[in-house]
Amino acid sequence: MEAHLYLEAKIEMIGSATDFTYKWCVNMGLDVGKAAQLTLAVDEILTDIILHAYSDTSGYVEIWYQYSFSELEIIVQETGEPFDPEQHAYSPEKAISRGDFEGAGREIARKMTDHFIFLNRGKDGKEFRLVKKLDKSHIRDLIKEETTEGRENGVADTYLLTPATSEDAEDIARLIYQCYDYSYGKEDLYFPKRIEMAIRHGYKFGTIVRTSRGGPAGYFAVIRNNDSLIGEVGEAVVAPPHRKRGLMKRMLNKLIEMSRQKGLLGLYGMALTVHTISQKANEKFNFKSTALLLARSSRSIYKGIREDYPQPISMVMDFLPLTKKWNTPVFLPRSYSDIMKELYIQFENHPGFKDLPDQIEKADISTELSLEIYYEANSALIIVRKLGNTFEGSCLSMFRSLEELKLTSIYIDIPLNHPGVDPSVEWLRENGFIFAGLMPFFHKERDYVRMQKINTELDFALIETHSEMAGKLKETISSEFHALHKG
């Protein structure tokens, strides 16, 4: 479960915040030792903030607690006095000889976490990101202890489809391991505890197919987005003896039915472009391509990908709407209005298009940005939560704060419900961003245009697309990419 604390920056609040942090970490699956480490890291950061950033003034600290299948991330934000951490590094010699412990808190926070990031966002404040990986037993350790006796290998005449529960976690991991050995792209599926936690807390839901003897034959799941009523069709497997029996189709139909019951407005699939197998599967189920995300994933995440594949993996996003109420009109940025109209009209019930006014007034509010960092992929997504009159300044502060991370790719999502999307997109184009595509219902059930900035060379001949629309996206994006990189 995600959580958000808004605290007055006072010493007395630290204990309450760390008590909550510790319990949240344990509830989300960290063992007590690692929970204590992450809690200490949070304590050190809060203590530094209260002693130094708010030494002379009052203020507030916000803490965001975020869960993913493989890690816990805690984000601490404040707007106190500016500081440069490089000027205040810890020195053991100074501590021993002079009792000068400057920088000790951050040194501890860094060592107690798997990722520790400091982002100075200028007027938008400072941000500390603390990440701890959820290391649980790998399925290979459980398989080792098992003999082949009693394991089901044969085909079955009848199959039973049921919703997957947390109790199915070990069978799901076993299925993935037996079918793919180590080559399945999503590492989380090799850790039964991670699957169990994700299903129990409702982050994913799925269906499992069993034979009449009870053995697992297939699994298919939807991973819910954390800020919108959509989900990613992300995990699918059928054991080899049970393939070509229509199980994948039955499971997907079941998943679509379950998704509708849960009120989801759409499903999407992120298909690899190293080959077109997943794109073809998505097309078969009426998904339509809406975006091409360059360098979206690190090659090393996908152990089955050819070893000589020389670049980060790009992905085609395919979308399937589950609602007919897709009727909030949108503004399309001028530079991409033609292709965005084409992307929309693939869908029967697409929203209407509003004309951009001749003079676009900037909304009299501050721009609000949020940031998601994909640590394994070395990329980040900036989401424009509110599009206001500080767009350029807020983006520049965010870009500066990300410079040190040397990210391979940065994406930014801009809402299409405000005419300000047009000048914002133009400004991003002037600052090295190119088109990525349409992200329907992606945040708070609203449509967004995604722009991307790629900080690596890419050979587009290695990016394989299947649908006609994915091909058009590739053409547009490739031409922008090459124009930018030649310049």
């Binding site: 010493i11 007395e12 630290i14 204990g15 760390t18 008590d19 510790y22 030792g33 204590a36 480490q37 809690t39 200490l40 304590d43 050190e44 203590t47 209260i50 002693l51 810890y90 053991p92 501590a95 021993i96 009792g99 412990f101 000790a104 808190g105 040194e107 501890i108 060592k111 107690m112």
Partner: protein, 94 residues
């Protein structure tokens, strides 16, 4: 926080973590006494402010004893490079 004190010494049993708030309370109680004992059996961690405080007491010649510190206390001493300069045999009571 439970404590007992006499002219020479202060004994504290922490109910929570040894953090900045605990340091401030202990500093006030300790005053200019000579010996401090902190029972950490209920603490999840000892933070850098606590380490700094203990280091300053030791440097001014005071005696400190820590009862049942959590494992993370030793990790923190290593991170801060203090594990060799602190005489843990004298300081720690398990």
């Amino acid at each position: 926080m439970h404590y007992t004190k006499d002219r020479q010494s202060l004994q504290v049993r922490l109910q929570g973590d040894f953090n900045l708030n605990a340091v401030r309370q202990i500093r006030e109680l300790f005053d200019d006494r000579e010996e401090l004992t902190v029972d950490l059996s209920h603490s999840r961690f000892v933070n850098s402010e606590a380490i700094l405080y203990l280091q300053s007491l030791m440097q001014s010649g005071k005696t400190i004893r820590l009862k049942e510190p959590p494992k993370i206390f030793f990790e923190v001493l290593h991170i801060l490079g203090l594990h060799e300069s602190w005489d843990l045999k004298k300081i720690v009571e398990s």
